[in-house]
């Protein structure tokens, strides 16, 4: 079994028996699509809510929620996933630093979560579980065998969703 790595502002797919993982999510969101029958999974490490924030046209789709999810859907389908069977899970979107009178930049975590939900809704994909918000960093891994989404925090606590 191999672990497929997803970098920041990046996306990838994993097929059975491999798992797919991204590390050190703060305000970023790790969003996954999974087909329980073909056991294909895709993950994007989304950094910002919307591509309207981009200062130029040359950007990676995985960076922004609104462009990341349509691209991830294509990738998962190409890898053998069936659109009608796909379910989504996600984690992250924390606010790592506490700032008084938080400006918009500081609230980016919750905005990322909202934007991912909106993008999933647009694509008609059901979000089955999430572990979002708070002020903790997370490392997440999706196992293609079971569809279990494992979340680990700095305090070594783990959680399955």
């Amino acid at each position: 079994m191999e672990v497929v790595k997803v970098w920041m502002a990046d996306s990838n797919v994993a097929k059975h028996p491999n798992s797919i993982r991204t590390t050190g999510l703060g305000s970023c969101v790790g969003v996954t699509l999974y087909d329980p029958t073909s056991k294909v999974a895709g993950m994007a490490h989304v950094m910002l809510p919307t591509s309207t924030l981009a200062k130029n046209d040359d950007f990676k789709n995985a960076k922004y929620a609104d462009t990341a999810l349509p691209e991830l859907l294509d990738m998962v389908i190409k890898a053998g996933g069936n659109r009608s069977r796909l379910v989504a899970k996600m984690a992250g979107g924390a606010q790592m630093f506490n700032f008084n009178g938080s400006s918009e930049t500081m609230r980016i975590g919750p905005r990322n979560v909202e934007a991912c939900k909106e993008a999933l809704k647009k694509l008609g994909i059901r979000l089955v579980s999430e572990d979002t918000g708070g002020n903790i960093g997370r490392t997440v891994e999706l196992f293609t065998d079971t569809g279990v989404f494992l979340i680990r925090t700095a305090t070594k606590q783990t959680k399955e969703i």
Binding site: M8, S27, M47, L48, F97, I108, A154
Partner: protein
């Protein structure tokens, strides 16, 4: 507009290294006074790096670090971090309070660390502002102890709107006593200054080393 990060000249990198030395030098002096103990400073490094490499540079996304973060606004904009490993953080607190510090950090310990971060980042930025003549308005610094990837990612958000690369201006300081006790290999802490891409032109103009119309 030309990409300020890819078109940076070696001379400009040298200038950034110099302002980092000035900022960190001032902060090292402040820390030394605070601890009543010598603090050494290494020559700064200025590295144009991909985001992924920045995270690797601090020991990987899951490396647990204590980090003070602030945003700079004013004439130029950017992110600044003071990053120390948790063992050094613990020793610093113990030094200041004269009591043993818990591994998961006490409330008191946390505020001591926050205060040290305020003083150090303030000293760094004051020196930077004095030298460049730029008006720099830092946000109130905020401390968090968590995965490096999660913490530094927050400072890369704004830069990420322009691309996937940043110029990391790294100044390392070390508390001599801790190095002698072999508590840490070669470090106490790192100051990371990450100017937003559209701030480089203003910064270089203030320093008189702008690109003269070259692309």
């Amino acid at each position: 507009m030309s990409d300020p990060i890819r078109n940076i000249t070696d001379f400009q990198l040298d200038v950034l290294r110099e302002i980092s030395n000035i900022g960190a030098g001032n902060a090292a002096t402040a820390l030394s006074k605070l601890l009543n103990n010598p603090v050494d400073m290494k020559v700064s490094r200025v590295l144009p790096l991909h985001f992924n490499d920045i995270i690797e540079y601090v020991g990987g996304a899951e490396n647990i670090v204590a980090t003070v973060f602030l945003r700079i606004q004013g004439d130029i904009a950017g992110s600044m971090f003071f990053v120390i490993n948790t063992e050094v953080a613990k020793r610093l607190i113990e030094d200041m309070l004269g009591t043993l510090e818990a591994d998961d950090f006490s409330e008191m310990g946390f505020s001591v660390l926050q205060e040290i971060g305020n003083i150090l980042s303030g000293s760094y930025l004051t020196a930077l502002s004095d030298f460049t003549g730029l008006d720099l308005q830092p946000s109130v610094p905020s401390l968090a102890i968590d995965m490096a990837g999660a913490l530094l990612g927050d400072g890369l958000m704004e830069i990420g709107r322009s691309g996937d690369y940043a110029i990391l201006i790294d100044a390392e300081i070390s508390i001599r006593k801790l190095v002698q006790q072999i508590i840490v290999q070669n470090g106490g802490g790192h100051f990371f200054l990450l100017p937003d891409p559209d701030s480089f032109e203003k910064l270089f103009t203030a320093l008189g080393v702008q690109n003269h119309g070259s692309s």
